[in-house]
């Protein structure tokens, strides 16, 4: 186990550096092709050269390799010096400020708890319903439930989250009105609210969380189903049945435990999908989380803030993946020895 952990940690470093370089390179190429985002700070007004230079310095985009004129490798100068500098900044937790001078790390930390709650509800939905649907479908492959699960998972993949979110809101509005007219309590009204309510930090996130969870639910259900069906054919299941073990225990303990390994592995990947989906869901339900901040920065043309926020999210994503990989090694001892 120790050797596996060390090897995985060593692989982690080039992946992180590589992902950052990819982001940095594409961002630099974008600036070289499209002009400095600091220009957007002034909107329609034309700033004096000194002011423009000052703002460029403020957002750390004053490096000559980002310039459009007099740049030797334009527009594909990789700006290696700037990359090293940025990595240094990231290492000490400096992600710059937004256009109002607020630290990006502060913005991130103040928005993080909301997104964390949203993600938690989504993951619970994804695992709870996804695994249950997958098990029911896998036990009777070709049966009615299998058919229903198959159709609903394909539908869940085909409907974009933002369409699903609006459609859920559309169908909830008349229901909520009916509840209010019949004197429902405030808690119930918080639950069926179509936007985030500060007074109900958990309840008003339930519906957005479920919508977000649907995104990964289909994959979880399908994985569970395939994996369960494969394991049901395994020798150890036959042995367990042959020695007279009750069916409930054969499936509930022996088969399920082994079937869930690929599902756990998939959680790392689906966390990345979740991060992207959170941007969409938070925008639909007006949730003031990290995704909401990203979208607001996009709308206000605050390019540097988007890059910093996404950089932090990528770190979180890669760390989660690392943890999932470790968990995988704990669950399935076979992979430690390859």
């Amino acid at each position: 186990m120790g050797r596996y952990v060390i090897r995985r940690l060593l692989q982690f470093i080039p992946t992180v550096v590589g992902a950052f370089f990819l982001l940095h390179y594409m961002v630099s190429a974008g600036i070289q092709l499209r002009g400095n985002p600091a220009r957007a700070f002034f909107g329609e007004r034309t700033p004096s050269p000194e002011m423009l230079a000052a703002v460029k310095r403020l957002f750390n985009t004053d490096d000559p390799c980002l310039a459009q004129e007099g740049n030797p490798l334009h527009p594909f100068n990789p700006c290696l010096g700037l990359f090293v500098e940025r990595m240094g900044n990231v290492a000490v937790g400096d992600f710059g400020t937004d256009y109002r001078g607020r630290l990006v790390t502060d913005i991130f930390l103040s928005a993080a708890p909301v997104t964390l709650r949203l993600a938690l509800i989504a993951i619970l939905t994804e695992i709870g319903i996804g695994v249950l649907a997958g098990v029911l479908a896998g036990l009777r492959s070709g049966g009615f439930i299998d058919y229903v699960v198959k159709i609903s998972t394909v539908l869940a993949i085909a409907i974009p989250v933002f369409v699903l979110g609006r459609m859920v809101q559309l169908s909830i509005v008349p229901f909520a009105r009916w509840l209010r007219d019949n004197g429902a309590s405030d808690d119930v009204m918080g639950l069926v609210a179509v936007t985030y309510k500060l007074d109900y930090p958990w309840l008003s996130l339930v519906i957005p969380g479920i919508v977000l969870g649907v995104l990964g639910l289909a994959t979880t259900a399908r994985l569970t189903r395939t994996s369960l069906m494969e394991n049901l054919r395994a020798d150890y299941v036959r042995t367990a049945t042959a020695k007279g073990m009750p069916q409930r225990r054969v499936i509930g303990v022996h088969t399920l435990r082994n079937s869930l390994i690929p599902v756990v592995t998939n959680l790392g990947y689906s966390f990345g999908v979740l991060l992207g989906g959170a941007v969409v869901t938070e925008s639909i339900f007006n949730v003031p989380g990290i995704g909401g901040v990203v979208i607001r920065s996009v709308r206000f043309n605050e390019g540097p803030v988007v890059v910093s926020m996404v950089t932090i999210l990528v770190i979180v994503y890669l760390v989660v993946n690392l943890i999932v990989d470790m968990l995988y090694a704990v669950l399935d001892p076979r992979i430690r020895y390859d």
């Binding site: 080039p14 992946t15 992180v16 590589g18 992902a19 370089f21 990819l22 982001l23 594409m26 961002v27 974008g30 600036i31 499209r34 985002p37 957007a40 394909v154 539908l155 993949i157 085909a158 409907i159 974009p160 989250v161 933002f162 369409v163 609006r166 459609m167 809101q169 559309l170 509005v173 179509v194 990345g272 999908v273 991060l275 992207g276 989906g277 941007v279 969409v280 925008s283 639909i284 990203v294 979208i295 920065s297 996009v298 709308r299 043309n301 390019g303 988007v306 890059v307 996404v310 999210l313 990528v314 994503y317 890669l318 993946n321």
Partner: protein
Amino acid sequence: MTDIQSAGPLGQPGPLHGEATSLPPGDGPSTERNASLWADAWRELIRNPVFVLSSVAVLAVMSMALAPWLWTSLDPQDCEIELGRQGPGGGHFFGMTKDGCDMYASVIYGSRPSIAVAVLATLGVVLVGILTGILAGYYGRWVDAIISRVVDIVMGLPFLLGAITLLALWRKREWYAVVAVLIVLGWPLVTRIMRASVLATKNMDYVQAARSLGASDLRIITRHVLPNAIAPVIVVATIALGSYVAAEATLSFLGVGLRPPTVSWGVLITHGTQWALSPGHAYLLLVPAGLLVVTVLAFILMGDALRDALDPKLR
């Protein structure tokens, strides 16, 4: 070039449609040629109602994108702003868009940018993916090491977050920027699949035979490895087409995709989401979103059917 004899049952020229025409009607005794993977797959697919239905839907959508005038005689740019958001009725069965254009005509003409972005992105992803996948799988060693590392790194970037970042800095939302970003973030998936498929094909007896007969690498790759390793990529490409149609809409919704005056499904749905919650305007969302969902669904189901037909393990 077309020496079918030397290709024999190994290298099948012209996947799918080439076999379709040579297929004998009914259940006649199959010739050796028809026992190939593609012919078997075709015979299975044509009897699969899901595949037939989804390919009819795909063909319909494709014809909308290529020749929208076949579907409507109305001009999508013939708009009256005072008719904006007028519900269905009065000669406009699907109502009017936000800008007072006929919704049906807008949706039909809106398929072109959406489908164009998806098709171009898929083509790009498949081309880059096949090329890098073959290089990594066939040549192995350091070529493989480099390509596989780059693939790992690009896949370490969550798709939607990466796309938002890149397009946010682009600021002007031209269609080619969207296509470029989809390709840059999407190719590693195809590379992985192609590489695995090439690795499995490379050690087949017929490839060894060709090599011992002195065939060049280029010939082995184009005549033996590629035709036999490409099936999984076709499946993934079909599904990717659907997901890129959805991705265009999502990016437009987030404000980083296509923008008016371009009228794509994404742009129409985005207008729909802004108005859907006000009473009587739900159709602004439901009409374009409905067509989008049907299209995405058709591509996914078609890909699933292709996978079932092309995977010999399931037989």
